[in-house]
Amino acid sequence: MPRVLIANRGEIAVRVIRACRELGLGAVAVYSDCDRNALHVRLADEAHYLGPSPAAQSYLRIDALVDVARKSGASLVHPGYGFLAENAAFAAACRDAGLTFVGPRPEAIALMGSKTAAREAAVKAGVPVVPGTAAPLPSTAGDAAVLAEAERIGFPLLVKAVAGGGGKGMRTVATSAALAAAVRAARSEAQSSFGDAAIYLERKLVEPRHIEIQLLADEHGTVLPFVERECSIQRRHQKVVEESPSTALDPATRRAMAEAAAKVARAAGYTNAGTIEFLVDRDNRFYFLEMNTRLQVEHPVTELVTGIDLVQWQLRIAQGARLDVTPEQALTPRGHAIECRIYAEDPDEGFMPSPGLVRAIAVPGGPGVRDDRGVAPGFEIPVFYDSMIAKLAVWGATRAEAVGRLTRALNEYRVIGVKTTVPFFQWLVRQPEFEAGRFDTTYLDRVLAGRNGRPFVEPTAADQDEAAIAAALAAWFRAHRAAAGPGDGNGGQAWRRASRTEALRSS
């Protein structure tokens, strides 16, 4: 039985373990100090220690991961997403060690990982790109040279780090007067975040949508594009809700985007799973944005509307299998799927992370609900990685049915011990723009700014009465449980203390 080393943690490691199990493959997990009892470690066939909790000393250690693969007899390595998933050196180290990397070849990762080289590849493939600089502007390019380029492209524009991602090293510039300062800021952020101060300029589209095409490509020349995913609901350039299909695309545009994505993948010699991201303007013109050379967080929505298991296919393709899915099955959505990323964050405190011990979780169930979780009760959400608890995805025959199901499932989703983004999603699903599917990438940041810190939860007077009663009952139960608590040898004392407290309080 071949074994797969899963070079990741959290929900994506759990997702890959499940696919391994379904295919009869062995699953080898890795962990850092704070993840010793994590769910992915508990579910794997075996688990190996990598190092201390900071990612640089554990999940990002290529040498340690290759060692674990050798030691455990794994022949395949799945990188998940994040950490080393788009690191060409890691893919190359696996290949050099005789391991099969579940992903594209290192050359394809390197090519598509550079934003300017990827743009060039798209242009060569005849796919439209957002107007911008053809080559990176090195740190030696002076203000005058940058300004000349900017005036050629036109304002408003974006200054972006060549090595950037997730909105880092990115600045919006409205006028030529603001250009020099924005370039300096972007360069310094890019240098400190990515060790590379090279930038490029790109025209800023007005209220664009972010729509992406999932691909699978086997090692025998077949490239299979999928129905699109709509990811325009973003907070500070981070996707928050994803759905498939998009409410904005007609079938002809869908087909044109799928063909364009397949062309880029072929031009890059791409294999395994990947995603081409596009910006789509109000006239349904689409522009290549970038390629993610890995599985995406939001892959479940595609799986829900096509019935195709992307992670199983990643593992099969890596083992040399031929893609035998019909193009129509991948391109034709059956119903509608929506995913919410549930984080341990306090939405009412500016989405501040809320790490801590998860004491219990009530997970929604019933028809059309998929829960991808990386956290089990008793686990302390560490401060060292992102704070995702779970991805909640729902399926419905129509978008309206999916929204109704999402609303219901969110009400069932309760995590005891930490604050979560569930109240934010409960607010979002009630917004008229969301219900109508009428939004672009600027939507969420705009409405959040307009709320001015107003809490997402607006309880009624009845809710407040119920909460006051419930909190008092909770305190009563706590006092009586503490009093009755056996085994700690202080039982008698606790009784005395509680009755004294009661005597003081009784009116």
Partner: protein
């Protein structure tokens, strides 16, 4: 037992009296909220409490998290609220929300890296104005001023790694 419960900025008086065999696993309770009396059945569950109101049959499945400072996070299916029970025992001074007064020390809530400093000593700031952006748990988090006032001290520099609890900014 009588409790002072602060919900949504309002302090309420709630007294709880167990009826018959009511105990830590549950039972019937006579609950008086702001002088109005009602019967409530309450049972401990894996998530917290399950409440039913015999008067109208209404039931509430409640998930409970106890947090520091006598705060309870109450997750109803459709809404999440927080309540502070007998908060005055945990605060010096009187009831009601503690006014944010005097010198305020803004500290790092978790380990991370200072990516941007938005103020300098001497700046006037308003309540909730951003002071420092900390990158932690792969997100940039803006730490805001707890009060209107003047920045007395900025104790960190951009790019610095900070431990949880590290002093960032003093607002006076």
């Amino acid at each position: 037992m009588t409790f002072e419960v602060e919900v949504s900025g309002r302090t309420r008086t709630v007294s709880i009296e167990g009826v018959g065999a009511a105990g830590p696993e549950g039972g019937q309770f006579r609950v008086t909220l702001d002088g109005v009396c009602q019967d409530v059945h309450a049972r401990a569950t894996d998530l917290g409490l399950f409440l039913t109101h015999p008067a109208d049959g209404r039931s509430v499945d409640l998930a409970l998290t106890e947090r520091v400072g006598a705060e309870w996070l109450l997750k109803f299916p459709h809404v999440t609220l927080s309540a502070v029970v007998d908060g005055r025992r945990f605060r010096r001074g009187g009831g009601g929300p503690a006014p944010v007064a005097g010198e305020q020390r803004v500290t790092a809530p978790m380990p991370g890296r200072v990516v941007r400093i938005l103020v300098k000593p001497g700046d006037a700031v308003t309540v909730r104005q951003g002071l420092v952006v900390i990158e932690a748990m792969k997100m940039e988090n803006e730490l805001a001023s707890p009060k209107a006032g003047r920045v007395k001290e900025v104790a960190v520099t951009e790019g610095m790694s900070v431990e949880s609890g590290r002093l960032l900014v003093v607002v006076e």
